[in-house]
């Protein structure tokens, strides 16, 4: 590190992503929906932050606000110091390379009319990285990294199982070597045994690539396993936040306690 620490991305002084009192209100004929209300949070470099909540808690909306996919109604989101609202469209698209997302529905998130390897190459093509050959090589390497034999790259998404589709989606998300990986319920639609594979994969990749991660889920046990810090959301607000171990062992907010209490144990 030659430059001063304050300027290098995500130093101790500056988190990678920070939300300052963000709110998102959706208007419709039926009235307003306050999906996210006055949320402040941050994700440090190399940190995995989990956001848990039930349906309607606003966690998915928050993820999209943090990625700049939706504009905030109020408040601001900063990525590496830059206020996303002030970044013009074209530059925002370039900035997107540093934050990528893995979605809940693996089949739905892949382009159905592109082969698996073409799906993985697409972000590279969009941002003009390398030549067709080099992109293909990179895509093959990425598929290998997530456990899909590159020989299957020509097949189309519908020909893979759910778990394999999610692997392809993860490979695609990693193609641009992002700093931040946002996972929105990445295993909720997968079988239990496949879920375990994907979680193990995410854990490994996160370690290997030094990713910062935002992990959204309604499944408390999954979040406990992967996250360093956890935020609990209910009705658009963060009701409690803290280091994972502390939050799960000694929850303070009654809603957190209620959520934890409702989880069904299996062996313990």
């Amino acid at each position: 590190m030659t430059t001063s620490d304050v300027d290098s991305p995500g130093s101790a002084a500056r988190p990678l992503v920070a939300a300052h009192e963000v709110s998102k209100v959706f208007g419709s004929r039926a009235g307003e929906v306050r999906a996210v209300e006055n949320v402040s949070m941050h994700i440090g470099v190399g940190e995995t932050v989990g956001v848990v909540g039930e349906s309607g808690s606003g966690k998915s909306t928050l993820a999209r606000l943090l990625m700049g996919l939706q504009p905030c109604t109020s408040g601001r989101v900063e990525f590496d110091g830059q206020d996303l609202a002030t970044v013009p469209g074209k530059e925002l698209r370039v900035l997107r390379q540093r934050m990528q997302m893995v979605f809940q529905n693996p089949f739905g998130s892949l382009l159905p009319h592109y082969s698996a390897v073409a799906n993985v190459m697409e972000p590279l093509r969009l941002h003009g990285r390398g030549t067709k050959t080099s992109r293909r090589e990179q895509a093959d390497a990425l598929l290998e990294m997530v456990g899909i034999h590159p020989g299957f790259g020509e097949l189309y998404p519908s020909q893979f199982s759910g778990g394999q589709q999610q692997r392809i989606a993860i490979a695609r998300a990693l193609a641009l070597e992002p700093d931040l990986l946002v996972c929105d319920e990445p295993t909720s639609s997968l079988d239990v045994s496949i879920q375990a594979q994907i979680l193990a994969l995410l854990g490994e990749l996160r370690q290997k690539l030094g990713l910062s991660c935002l992990f959204i889920s309604h499944n408390l046990a999954v979040v406990e396993r992967l996250a360093d810090r956890v935020a609990v959301m209910s009705q658009g607000r963060i009701v409690e936040e803290g280091p994972t171990e502390r939050l799960f062992e000694a929850p303070e907010h009654p809603y957190t306690r209620q959520l934890l209490g409702a989880v069904l144990p299996v062996t313990m």
Binding site: M67, N105, G108, S115, V146, G147, H149, Y156, Q159
Partner: protein
């Protein structure tokens, strides 16, 4: 992958379950098999799947052959027709079928019915394909813009199409012909313009529905721009149903051309048009019924062939049509 879903529409993956993969750690545990199994699986994208479904439908294949034959015959009409369509044979006026040199007889001016029918097929197909291609292109451009951009563009389109709906299409075609004159070009424009509106709305509906899919959001997250998303990701997926509509629109256009010909608004004589031939044939119905029969039968055949083809295309893209 629910079994019921597996049987109802998704094809089996054709991939062997992994036999003890020794991948790196747990992550590698999902690795999809060794080299030998790669050769067995064949890439089947959505177009390939539709084609496979089409192939399995016997009626669709038959109709494909029929349409193919019609198209080839129409294209080759100038070479295979025994006479030019305007050649008059004064020695054989209103001759019946099987007359010397005139397989299907002649009309009141001594023109060979068979040749005129073949040329009529050529006219019909040129107009029908031309019109529907024009309609499809307009519909795609406008529908995509309206569906994707929304806002004023969409409202404008919807208002415009509402106005066009209000016009009876035949009336509109008549006006077009009056303005542009009686030529093949005029007919193509007239019939095409009358039809594109419905298709544009369909495109818009498709685009709206596809916009909700996760892969569109994923594309935005990847940093794709609006036009890229619209053209590279949404359009190819919206085209499927449009092919179905277009396939059904072709027989409709054939009928429209014949109808206009019947009204005396089709192509200028002596260029043959089935509609014109039928109109004349009706006048000589009692004395020379063969004048009416030939064009009418081929007309009906063409309609049938293309309609069956449309059915086949629809079933290929939407196989759940008749499921419980």
């Amino acid at each position: 992958m629910d079994v019921i879903a597996a049987a109802e529409g998704l094809h089996s993956t054709g991939l062997e379950p992994d036999a003890g993969a020794a991948g790196a750690g747990a992550a590698g545990a999902g690795a999809a098999g060794a080299g030998e199994t790669v050769a067995r699986a064949r890439a089947r994208g959505p177009w390939r799947k539709a084609w496979d479904r089409f192939k399995r439908n016997r009626l669709a294949l038959i109709s494909l052959v029929m349409c193919g034959v019609l198209v080839v015959v129409a294209f080759a009409a100038p070479w295979i027709a025994p006479h030019h369509y305007a050649d008059t044979d004064y020695e054989a006026l209103l001759a019946g079928a099987g007359a010397d040199g005139h397989l299907l007889g002649t009309d009141q001016l001594g023109r060979d019915i068979l040749s005129r029918t073949l040329y009529g097929l050529r006219t019909a197909l040129i107009v029908a394909f031309g019109a529907e291609l024009l309609a499809l292109l307009c519909a795609l451009v406008v529908g995509l813009a309206a569906g994707y951009r929304g806002g004023r563009a969409e409202q404008g389109l919807m208002a415009f199409t509402d106005v066009m709906y209000a016009f009876p299409s035949y009336l509109f075609a008549i006006v077009m012909v009056a303005v542009l004159g009686r030529s093949i070009f005029a007919l193509i424009v007239a019939i095409g313009i009358a039809g594109w509106v419905t298709q544009a709305r369909l495109v818009r509906a498709q685009v709206l529905s596809i916009k909700q899919r996760e892969y569109v959001e994923a594309a935005r997250a990847m940093g794709a721009s609006g036009p890229t998303i619209a053209v590279r990701y949404i359009l190819p997926n919206a085209i499927g149903p449009m092919l179905v509509t277009t396939s059904f629109a072709i027989p409709a256009a054939i009928a429209a051309e014949a109808g206009l010909g019947l009204l005396g608004l089709g192509v200028q004589p002596p260029t043959p048009s089935w509609g014109g031939m039928i109109s004349e044939g009706t006048r000589y119905l009692l004395s020379a019924p063969h004048m009416l029969l030939a064009p009418a039968c081929v007309f009906a055949l063409a309609l049938l062939a293309f309609t069956w083809f449309g059915d086949g295309v629809r079933d290929a893209f939407d196989p759940r049509g008749d499921r419980r």
